[in-house]
Amino acid sequence: MRLLFDIFWSFLKIGAFTFGGGYAMIPLIQHEVITLRRWLGEGEFVELLTLAQAAPGPISLNTAVFVGYKMRRYSGALAAVMGVVIPSFVIILIVAMFFADIRNNVWVDAAFRGMRPAVVALIVAPIVGLARGMNAWLMAVAVAVALVVWYFAISPVWFLLVGAVGGVLWAAYQCKKC
C-alpha cells in the first residue's frame, strides 16, 4: 500500500509540473524515478524511452504505465496513470468551467488572437529538425501525407497503417538481401 501511494505521489508531481509535454519532462522523470526513488537504473530508463516513443499515446502516460507496471503490475500501473492524469484533468476542468464565461471578454479575445499564430509557430518549429534526418523518399512521403491530410481532410490513421505495413515490407526486403 505504501509503495502504491509512493508511485501515485511521484507521478502526481510529474503530472503537475510537466509543461509543454514530451521531451521537456524527461529530466523531471529521471530525477523522480532514478535519482530519488531508485525504481529504475539508467539502462532501464533508455529502454523505457525507446518503448514510450514506439507506443501510441503521450510519453508521460507511457512512462507512468511502464514504471507502475514494473513495480506493482496492474495496481501499480493504475496508480501511476491516475497520478499523472489527475493534475491536468483537474486544471483543465476548472479552465473549461470558467473559460466560456470569459472567452468573449474583449481583453481575453485580444490575447487569444495574439496566441493563435504563436501556437502555429510552435507546431511548425520542430518539423525542420525532424525532417533533417530523412532522405528524399521519406521527405516526399511526409510532404504527401501533410498535403493530403490537410487538403482532403482525411484521417491520418490510414497513413499510419500504410506506413507501418510499408516499414514491415521494407524490413522483409532488406532481410532477403542479408
Partner: protein, 180 residues
C-alpha cells in the same frame, strides 16, 4: 448518451493512433473533433492548444478533458479522458512484458521506421490546417500582425526560448494590438 459513446469512441481512436507525441496527435485530434464531429471550430481548436501549452500535462489528455466538458459536461470530460488513456495503458503493459524479446526484431523496427515520415507529415498537416482552415470561422491568421507574431515565435522557438513564455508574450502582444 449517444454523445458520450461518440466521445468515448473518438478519444479511444485518438489514444490508439496517437503515435509520435503531442504535435503529431494534433492532426488526429483535429480530424476527430473539428472535421468529423464538428465539436469545435478551427480557431477554438487552436485556443485549446494554447491553453494546453500553458497548463501542465499532455495535449491529448488536456484536449480530452476540455472537449469532453464542452460537449457533455463533467461526465463527458471523464469519459473522454478515460478513453484516451485506455490504449496507452493496455499497449504499454503488453510492450513492457514482451518488448525485451521483440526489441531487436527487424519487423518491429520496420513498423517504427515506416511510421516516422507519416508522423512528420501529420505534424505539418496540423500546421497547414490551422494556417489554411477549411472554414472561415475562427481563423488563426487575421492580418499582418498575425504573421509577425508567427515569425517571431518561430524564431524564438528555434533559439530554444521556453514555449510557455512565447505563448504568454504573444497573448500580451494580442492585448496591445487588438485590445487597445
Amino acid at each position: 448518451m449517444g454523445v458520450l459513446v461518440q466521445l468515448f469512441l473518438s478519444y479511444l481512436k485518438i489514444g490508439f493512433f496517437g503515435f509520435g507525441g503531442g504535435y503529431a496527435m494534433l492532426s488526429l485530434i483535429h480530424s476527430e473533433v473539428v472535421v468529423r464531429n464538428g465539436w469545435l471550430t478551427s480557431g477554438e481548436f487552436s485556443d485549446i492548444v494554447a491553453i494546453s501549452q500553458m497548463t501542465p500535462g499532455p495535449i491529448a489528455i488536456n484536449s480530452a478533458t476540455y472537449i469532453g466538458y464542452e460537449v457533455a459536461g463533467i461526465a463527458g470530460s471523464v469519459v473522454a479522458t478515460v478513453a484516451v488513456c485506455l490504449p496507452a495503458l493496455t499497449i504499454m503493459m503488453l510492450l513492457t512484458r514482451f518488448f525485451l524479446r521483440l526489441k531487436d526484431n527487424i519487423y518491429v523496427r520496420g513498423v517504427v521506421q515506416g511510421m516516422r515520415p507519416v508522423v512528420v507529415g501529420m505534424i505539418a498537416s496540423a500546421a497547414l490546417l490551422l494556417i489554411f482552415p477549411h472554414s472561415d470561422e475562427g481563423r488563426s491568421f487575421i492580418d499582418g500582425w498575425s504573421w509577425a507574431i508567427f515569425a517571431l515565435t518561430l524564431f524564438g522557438s528555434w533559439r530554444k526560448v521556453n514555449p510557455i513564455l512565447l505563448i504568454v508574450v504573444s497573448g500580451v502582444a494580442g492585448v496591445l494590438i487588438y485590445g487597445l
